[in-house]
């Protein structure tokens, strides 16, 4: 694994420099912009993180998971339960760890499932957890909702920025590591990967659990902004489907595409929601349908094909 630190897998030496510059700019954002911009940006970061973490596993392996809401919700409940007991950064880590452990257990028992069975199982999982938590709250605690200790937007912003940077770096490096290669070969042919000596179960479970860590940590962070949660809020199935949509929208095959998909759709949703409150869903739906029908490679795919066309044109001219 030492190849990760040597840098020989970096295709472009400018990327780390520019990435750091972008992070620095993002870090300065709350100082120069008005408070609501910070809140908007935080929202964008959440969706980027859950999209990246979803696509990290489901993209290359083609195991379509719709359990993101389960891990996100576990993070939210961790925050609600532990928020008063420990400092905020620790709560966030704990949220991630709890989700990680859960994903590990789930992975151990189910990642031998394949295709549609796996997808349906992951959906069932988040529903199961939601109903379990609901039952627990009603029968054991005699309530349904909980308050979460509120944290100011600025610390939440920086926490999300840290999670975002870690997630992007992680996705970037894992895509270029032996693990990334293993994930892709599982996606292409699981049997072949197995015969080549890849411990497919270990790879799948580990990566699945790590992606759950990011979703859980994000949930823990966001719960402090929502201040009130109940099982249907925390385990809202929307959080399972949005990352899938966003990744497809932007271009499922690249980190860039996933980031663009998440950012554009989040900002678009915010804009439509406030500008066209009555037609918001309609417009949003039409845009999604158009992109999925006409741009199979997502927004990034469009960009690539434009570049290719331009290149062929310049070649023809010379």
């Amino acid at each position: 694994m030492n190849s990760l630190s040597t840098g020989k897998y970096l295709p472009n030496p400018r990327i780390p420099v520019l990435f750091s510059a972008a992070v620095l700019a993002a870090a300065l954002l709350p100082l120069i912009m008005d408070p609501f911009t910070t809140i908007s940006a935080t929202n964008v970061f959440i969706y980027i993180v859950i999209t990246l973490s979803w696509a990290l596993f489901s993209g290359p392996t083609q195991y379509i998971s719709i359990a993101t809401a389960a891990f996100f919700g576990i993070g939210i409940y961790t925050s609600a339960l532990a928020g008063e007991l420990m400092p905020f950064p620790l709560v966030v880590c704990l949220g991630g760890v709890v989700s990680f452990v859960l994903a590990l257990l789930v992975g151990l028992s189910t990642l031998r499932l394949k295709g549609m069975y796996f997808t349906i199982f992951t959906f069932g999982l988040s529903e199961l957890i939601r109903h379990f938590v609901l039952w627990w709250e009603v029968v054991m605690t005699g309530t349904v909702g909980r308050w979460v200790v509120s944290v100011d937007p600025i610390p939440v912003y920086y926490t999300m920025l840290v999670i975002l940077v870690v997630t992007i770096s992680f996705c970037f490096f894992i895509g270029r590591s032996r693990y990334g290669l293993a994930l892709r070969s599982i996606g292409q042919s699981e049997e072949a990967a197995d015969h080549m000596g890849i411990n497919i179960t270990a790879v799948k479970i580990n990566v699945f659990a790590i992606t759950a860590f990011f979703a859980g940590a994000t949930g823990s962070t966001m719960a402090t902004r929502w201040t009130y949660i109940d099982p249907s809020i925390a385990f809202n199935p929307l959080f399972s489907f949005m990352p899938v949509l966003m990744a497809i929208f932007g271009g499922i095959g690249s980190i860039t595409g996933q980031i663009i998909g998440a950012a554009v759709l989040t900002l678009l949703a915010d804009l439509l929601l406030t500008e066209f409150p009555y037609y918001y869903m309609l417009i949003y739906g039409i845009i999604l349908v158009v992109v999925i029908l006409f741009l199979p490679g997502g927004i990034v795919g469009l960009w690539d094909s434009m570049k290719k066309r331009r290149r062929t044109e310049t070649n023809e001219n010379t």
């Binding site: 990435f19 972008a22 700019a25 809140i39 609901l134 309530t143 937007p153 109940d230 950012a263």
Partner: protein, 410 residues
């Protein structure tokens, strides 16, 4: 040769930041209107309630205020019209919190009007308190919020709370001579809190409670539970229910032909649609429900508001919280006209005065309206009559409940 810039991570970041920066360019203008904003459910499960109880009253109020030139603002010595900004919170607490912050930070509204439902009020209470915006919530019924009311001094609750309501309900049972009652509740904040207050009250009055059960929020068939109740031979059936299950229980009880001497249901009974949906007013004769308001109440302006509402929207307001929603606007209006646009002063004024409204005099104690204990209504000849509390009665309770009318031949 053309230099190709790789479209990669950094470009994304730059584009992303640019989007974020360009996005919220807001306009600033001189103070020529009062901006009032609300994030409320235009879509999702809460939208039916919001569209019934709150939004029509918000719009009615704004139109009326603007028709008379606006609200008089003392420090400017003139009337300012109201501009109402409505956002859709999608019945989602994450969205409502974000939109309320957008209203406060970006749209820079002067005041916030609340969303619909207990969960949404819970979600915004800490937010509006942090930014010091006084909000009077008409559709929250929760003891839990009352317990933490001192932590959110900018939040006010308008509706009657389970504690007083439970006492009022059980008082009627005692009055008419109920000896045995079944208590069922929806497994949601509303049902849990209400049943936990009603159950001990029944015990205090020595009313037997052989059945005490919950059912899930999205129940589609409740007949097994109703059969159990029917075989338990109780006098009264009390359901701490939300609109969908209120309708379901009524429908299935009627189909079964099970007719307890007293039937009480929660939110939904007081909705005007309830009158028609089971085949006309004589079907629901004698059913009791949460909420107690009708145009016969003796408060100044009450009948007038009812008429204006019917005229503007071509439909009756609901008899549950509609009047409370309008009354909360009256409280806000009176406070602003008294002390101006300073939100701290408005908050203090609301907290320490009594306001004449369409639901009678409103006064807040510990953040909650102490208007009257127990508000129960009963359908009698197509009218939603107030039967509790005794002092507010517009009719005597009917007991026992008349039998379901025989199914009409079609």
């Amino acid at each position: 040769m053309k230099v190709r810039t790789p479209f990669s991570l950094f470009t994304v970041f730059i584009a992303l930041l640019a989007l974020i920066v360009i996005f919220p360019i807001s306009s600033y203008a001189a103070k020529d209107k009062i901006r009032i904003g609300t994030a409320i459910s235009l879509s999702g499960p809460y939208s039916a309630g919001a569209g019934m109880t709150q939004i029509p009253n918000y719009k009615l109020w704004v139109d009326e205020v603007n028709a008379k030139g606006g609200l008089y603002i003392k420090e400017l010595k003139k009337k300012l019209p109201i501009e109402l900004i409505i956002y859709d919170d999608k019945s989602d607490t994450g969205t409502v919190v974000k939109l309320v912050e957008q209203l406060i930070l970006k749209d820079k509204v002067d005041f916030i009007l609340p969303p619909w439902g207990t969960a949404m009020h819970f979600a915004i209470a800490p937010v509006i308190n942090k930014y010091k915006y006084p909000v009077i919530g008409p559709t929250i019924s929760s003891e839990k919020l009352r317990e933490i009311a001192h932590k959110v001094p900018y939040f006010f609750g308008m509706l009657n709370m389970p504690r007083e309501q439970a006492a009022g309900l059980v008082e009627i049972l005692e009055e008419v001579g109920v000896k045995k009652a079944a208590l069922i509740y929806v497994a949601d904040a509303y049902g849990i809190e209400w049943s936990s207050k009603v159950a001990p009250e029944l015990g205090l009055k020595k009313i037997d409670m052989p059945i005490f059960k919950s059912y899930p929020l999205d129940t589609k068939d409740i007949s097994p539970l109703l059969k159990t109740i029917a075989s338990a031979d109780v006098d009264a059936v009390l359901c701490m229910s939300y609109p969908n299950d209120t309708f379901l229980i009524t429908k299935q009880m009627k189909e079964m032909g099970y007719n307890p001497k007293l039937l009480y249901l929660g939110v939904g009974v007081a909705f005007p649609v309830y009158k028609q949906m089971f085949g006309g007013p004589d079907v629901i004769e004698g059913i009791m429900g949460a909420g107690a308001w009708n145009p016969k109440v003796p408060y100044p302006g009450a009948k007038d508001w009812y008429d204006r509402h019917v005229k503007k929207w071509n439909k009756e307001p609901d008899f549950w919280a509609s009047a409370f929603a309008y009354a909360s606007l009256q409280v806000l209006e009176q406070s602003i006209e008294k002390v101006g646009l300073d939100r701290k002063k408005v908050r203090d004024y609301i907290a320490s005065n009594t306001f004449p409204t369409v639901i009678g005099p409103v006064r807040f104690e510990g953040g909650f309206n102490v208007q009257s204990p127990g508000e129960i209504g009963q359908w009698q000849k197509g009218q939603f009559e107030i039967v509790a509390s005794k002092a507010k009665r517009t009719a005597k309770p009917i007991y026992p409940k008349p039998p379901w009318p025989p199914e009409k031949a079609k």
